[in-house]
Symmetry: C2
Subunit: 474 residues, 2 copies
């Protein structure tokens, strides 16, 4: 065994023994050289080996971190197998029931769709907001109707440059959060009765939009780490007859909600090519694009879009400024249509918050904030996965996504997730049960859990309680 | 002639001679007593007489003001006579063409839908916004999802109390401006293919909403001062067959856009009763409700609604805070449905602006601001009506609404308003041509002009130019 392999084995042991825990930084190359009396090259080789084995990862300008891996890590769920026919969606009522049943402020919000607000620089944003509002030319209050504040649109376009996507600021339409952007895009590309291809499971807001607009959903098989199955999509696209014909896709390429899957660059390119060949528009909900744990921000699928068929939607709500309700759409060839839909539905997005975020992007320290947020999320994921491995029934499977803040938990087949929800709610714990992520209310034994909150004894106890509830239902 | 009649005649002469102009305050009772050597009772009788004759009006805690009446005032347009059949709407494209053709900041915005931003307390609002954002409990960023900030909803409900309407704050849903409120309400009460009764002419955004949702419009005869013709509505409601059946009404009871008509209390009561008897919901767009020139805020139609069938929508965009995009819906029996529609389309309204307006309502001096704004608008109306009387072709008719900031100008029949728009745009003046207010692009010889801006030599010259353009087309 070479020296670098010995060093790698030593660190592996430390991780296995819990000396180094998921999300923690391991010694820098310099520190390790000094401590072990070896050369920087040896340390680098050892770290490369650990990275290749998936035990650690590099973060630029930050160092090396332990991945969420465990001695007794629960297994990963299998690729989903939704029914092959498109279907009318009937789940909105259930979603509202679930969401409205756990609205108390004292609830442990494992079912929440949001990161805990304490993770955001809200005090700093407030200062930017006050300053921006005072400095605004009053004429902007009328002139910044759609598409929105010019500086903010430029700031958003600039950030995409860093992710390998060139965007004309003129294409950026500011919306009331990504939710509005997605809804407008869906209305622009499809009409009542049309079939929309989605992931299985899919974010319930996509299902609600499809249901509200009288469209149909076709859920595609989806791998929990790699995203939607392109062969299945290709097959479905081939069935170009009648109502089954796919009018558009609505997918989450990065850290899909609820699975957390991340499509590779190769897969993104293939997806865009597949759809371009058939002129099928692709709506991408990319609200978690900034919350990656890997080396760099994933390159948006839109980067391979030469036809204007990709409608990319995102927002600041998940990564910086919840409550500001600032999102955007890059709607490609549908840009004018989407802008006009915006004008006739909500007219415009509030002007002062746009100006505040434009200023913050220039000088607020966004990248610094994001680095801290990603580190915290990764650490919290590790703690929650570990707790699930410890507290949940044998046979439980769980994802370990490379970004975002959701775990998808597959309980033993006989456990009814809606019953878990009811019993947990009675104990002041919210969960997001699987059926709200399916047009046909499937995934009856699955839960989406949110790790976007500090790992406290209260949260740890809630996980133990959930495990007990699941055991009782086995 | 009694002493008080002599005094009234004297003031009438001063108004006729332009010594006292529209919107100006006339001497107080005490000042008039001193100046004329008469008793307060005599002055009060004289002022009452002038008020009965429509020459002046009282404003509470402010005094007596000259109405917009003129020696050679243009006549009022007649009640509209739209076609009696409901119709598919096809005007949205034209509306966008018109709106997008005059976007320069140097244009004289007579076609604008907004009051000039200088009329609003934007600096003060900015201070409230900064303060509110700093003081916000971070948890509010998530907790204030629909229906919105509790204090703001209470503040809105309190203001309606003063107008004779009791509202449960729980019914108040905060929206992204009235535009969103109206759109959500329309979706809650009607479906594609349904017929919606509107005023003729109607606000183009209502037409665009009806068009976008695949509904049909039935424009009702409407009096330029008194609003929609209830007999015509009753007749239309009687034709309860097939597609012509009216699924809902969408009306503006106060200072209708573009006519400026104001329905009397008696008429509002009758309207609500008429619709209640047939269980037809009434959407009221009441965004100008605070911009009354009369003695008191008109009592909302919803005050007579015992069935929960009136969906009252309004906002701060026209009277206080353009660009903040804060509106609301009081949706009666449809409240939960509208709230859920909001959740699935834009989720929530930006939180800090809501908190800022809640604070402003408590301590910002809203009533003081509104008094000043109303006085300015009334004065500007007088100046514009006077200019039209002087500069426009013989036979021109114009409204003189008791609130809001729009004039409806009926040019001689042969004048093509779209051509007026084109020629005016070439001279950097925007107008809103009649056809954009009609499902069938009628009102070909009409214009809506905006007097919500300071009366400057530039605006005066623009009116003269418009008059010349119209003359040339006669």
């Amino acid at each position: 065994m070479t020296r670098y392999e010995q060093l790698a084995q030593e660190i592996t042991r430390q991780i296995g023994a819990g000396v180094l825990r998921a999300g923690e930084r391991i010694p820098s190359v310099r520190q390790a050289c000094a401590a072990q009396g070896v050369s920087p090259g040896t340390v680098q080789q050892a770290y490369q080996l650990l990275e290749d084995r998936g035990l650690i990862q590099t973060r630029p300008r930050s160092g090396y971190y332990v991945n969420a891996t465990f001695k007794a890590a629960p297994a990963e769920p299998a690729t989903s197998r939704p029914p092959r026919a498109s279907t009318v969606v009937d789940v909105s009522e259930l979603v509202f029931e679930i969401l409205e049943s756990v609205k108390s402020e004292t609830v442990v919000p494992l079912g929440s769709a949001f990161i805990h607000p304490s993770a955001f620089p809200l005090a700093k944003l407030a200062r930017f907001l006050g300053g921006a509002a005072r400095g605004l030319d009053p004429r902007r209050m009328v002139a910044d109707l759609p598409p929105g504040n010019r500086e903010l649109r430029r700031g958003i376009a600039r950030r995409y440059l860093g992710a390998g996507l060139t965007v004309d600021p003129e294409e950026v339409l500011i919306t009331n959060g990504a939710m509005e952007a997605l809804n407008l895009c869906l209305q622009a590309v499809a009409k009542p009765g049309d079939t929309i291809a989605i992931e299985g499971p899919a974010f319930y807001a996509a299902l609600q939009a499809i249901e509200r607009l009288g469209m149909k959903a076709l859920a595609l098989p989806t791998h929990p780490r790699e995203g939607v199955d392109l062969q299945a999509l290709e097959k479905a696209l081939g069935q170009q007859k009648g109502q089954q014909k796919i009018a558009a896709c609505w997918l989450m390429t990065s850290f899909q909600n609820p699975l957390g899957s991340l499509m590779s660059e190769e897969k993104r390119r293939a997806l865009v090519a597949l759809l371009a060949a058939r002129e099928v528009p692709l709506i991408v909900d990319d609200v978690y694009e900034e919350l990656y744990f890997g080396r760099a921000r994933p390159k948006p699928a839109k980067a391979w879009d030469s036809q204007g068929l990709v409608l990319h939607c995102s927002s600041f709500s998940k990564c910086l400024a919840p409550g500001y309700r600032i999102g955007w759409a890059l709607a490609g060839r549908y840009a004018q249509q989407v802008r006009r839909l915006k004008m006739t539905t909500t007219l415009a997005t509030a002007i002062p918050p746009q100006a505040a975020l434009a200023d913050y992007l220039k000088q607020g320290g966004y990248d610094h904030h994001l680095r801290g947020l990603r580190t915290a999320l990764q650490r919290q994921q590790g703690s929650m996965v570990e707790a699930i491995g410890r507290d949940f029934p044998v046979g439980t499977r769980v994802t370990q996504p490379q970004g975002g803040y959701f775990l998808w938990v597959e309980l033993p087949a006989q456990v009814d997730a809606l019953e878990v929800h009811r019993r947990a709610a009675a104990k002041n714990i919210s969960v997001a049960p699987g059926p709200i992520f399916s047009p046909q209310r499937r995934y009856e034994n699955c839960l989406r859990l949110n790790y976007g909150q500090p790992w406290t004894p209260q949260v740890e106890a809630a996980l133990a309680t959930l495990g007990k509830i699941a055991e009782d239902l086995c």
